[in-house]
């Protein structure tokens, strides 16, 4: 219990500190570290998701039309809702937790254990500036980019390949898509993926910089804790965000009627 409270407090402090220090990104080594983070988190992850994201769109359209016996309208609507609002940001966050969250927390734990963070401090380099800010900012940008990439691939895949398995043409599906698309979905997924990226990076940095002990054995513990907490945070943010935006904002506060 005490550890959980300490983790929440530490995580919040780290988040506030990182958010308040974003201007340090102008410093050359920090900017370089930020770009490196964007490259490793966003660019290198993008190649692995092409096929999976394209299949996602096909599956959504095919299942809704075949299993639910829906028409083109409903199928495209569900594709938009699922891909833009839910699965797109969640899939990107999952890829980032598995690929970069693990690497980031292990790397930082190793730096802490081997005394490299101490070396940075002796050189007058602030750990938040050099280690946390570029990673948090980099992962946020990469999450947004990867979310769009997955969304675009899923929608394109759905529109291009669905005509081979259902009775609808590409033009039919595409025209319905442009009719139904609303900017809210776009902003919604940007904000959500920014929050996911922030939560994932902050949790990984926090656990990486605070290993349970300073031995090599602490590294797997750090990675396990970081990944578990990232998954919990992403799911919590997803639920809270959906409730706040589509629950309270659009339909008012939901209350039970007795």
């Amino acid at each position: 219990m005490l550890r959980a409270v300490r983790e929440i407090e530490g995580g919040l402090k780290l988040s506030v500190n990182a958010a308040g220090r974003l201007p340090v990104l102008r410093k050359p080594p920090i900017l370089e570290s930020f770009l490196r983070q964007v490259y490793f988190t966003g660019v290198t992850a993008s190649t692995g998701v092409v096929l999976r994201a394209s299949l996602l769109g096909v599956l959504i359209i095919a299942i809704t039309m075949d299993v639910l016996d829906a028409d083109v309208d409903l199928a495209v609507k569900i594709l938009l809702l699922v891909v833009f609002r839910e699965v797109g940001p969640l899939a990107a966050a999952t890829v980032i937790i598995l690929r970069s969250g693990t690497a980031m927390s292990a790397e930082m734990a190793m730096m802490r254990i081997s005394g490299q963070t101490r070396a940075l401090r002796y050189m007058g380099i602030d750990l938040y500036d050099y280690l946390v800010v570029p990673r948090v900012a980099g992962v946020m940008v990469a999450t947004v980019a990867l979310t769009f990439y997955i969304q675009a691939l899923a929608v394109a895949g759905g529109l291009l390949f669905s005509p081979f398995i259902i009775e609808a043409t590409f033009m039919e599906l595409a025209s319905r898509l442009f009719d139904l698309f609303s900017p809210v979905d776009f902003y919604y997924s940007i904000i959500k993926s920014l929050l996911f990226g922030f939560a994932v990076a902050a949790a990984c940095c926090y656990h990486g910089l605070n290993p349970p002990d300073l031995t090599q054995n602490a590294v797997p513990k750090v990675v396990t804790r970081a990944v578990t907490q990232c998954a919990m945070l992403v799911l919590t943010i997803n639920a809270v965000f959906a409730y706040v935006v589509f629950g309270i904002l659009f339909f008012g506060l939901v209350t039970a009627k007795v």
């Binding site: 410093k27 080594p29 081997s114 005394g115 490299q116 070396a119 002796y122 050189m123 007058g124 380099i125």
Partner: protein, 209 residues
């Protein structure tokens, strides 16, 4: 008589470092500004305590430390940072960063603090590597794990020369080096002296009993 009085009145040489450690093994060290000293301490714990105290400009309750004539106990915030900027070390405590290559390691403090300019860092690095017979183009692209012990020490020394501290501490210089390599790193003293004629250099080691 008057000569004696004159001699008594002349100011004592200013100390770059005065360190006292009380306890079971008393340690008392005084190093005048501009000198080169070799200090041997009884154990590794005392050695790291000294280096840590100097680098942090902060001492434990059983220690007394003065840097450039100022007791560090009374220092606060910016004054402490100012003193810390005047000292540097080649020590396992200030090791290299593993995910940066040799050049990035050397240039990191300068790039972060904005001084000296990177062109100057490049020039100093080339000169230092030249003195120790290393070819910069291939050497600087390698990460610490690809470097030998001697090469890591030269990288850390180049970083120290870029920082140009008034008081430099070199800890366990010969640790893990062959006899031929020890002969090469002996050039550190000359190189430091050439670049910082008024600087103070301290070699710290463990006493062999």
């Amino acid at each position: 008589m008057s000569a004696v009085l004159q001699s008594d009145a002349s100011p004592a040489p200013q100390l770059a470092l005065r360190y006292l450690r009380h306890g079971a093994r008393e340690i008392a060290i005084e190093v005048p500004v501009g000198s080169v000293r070799r200090i041997e301490l009884p154990d590794s714990e005392s050695k790291s305590a000294l280096v840590t105290a100097v680098l942090k400009a902060r001492c434990e309750p059983d220690e007394e430390l003065e840097l450039f004539g100022q007791p560090v106990k009374n220092l606060v915030g910016r004054a402490r940072q100012k003193i810390r900027n005047r000292v540097g070390a080649l020590s396992p405590i200030v090791g290299l960063i593993n995910n940066l290559n040799a050049w990035e390691n050397i240039a990191l403090p300068a790039a972060y603090h904005g001084k000296p300019p990177l062109a100057e860092v490049g020039a100093i690095t080339q000169e230092v590597l030249g003195v120790f017979g290393l070819e910069p183009r291939t050497f600087l692209a390698r990460v610490p794990d690809e470097l030998g012990k001697l090469e890591r020490k030269i990288t850390a020394f180049a970083r120290l020369m870029v920082a140009g501290p008034e008081l430099a501490i070199i800890e366990s210089l010969n640790d893990g080096l062959s006899r031929a390599e020890c002969a090469r790193v002996a050039g550190f003293e000359q190189e430091y002296r050439r670049r910082h004629p008024a600087g103070t250099l301290i070699f710290v080691d463990i006493r062999e009993e």
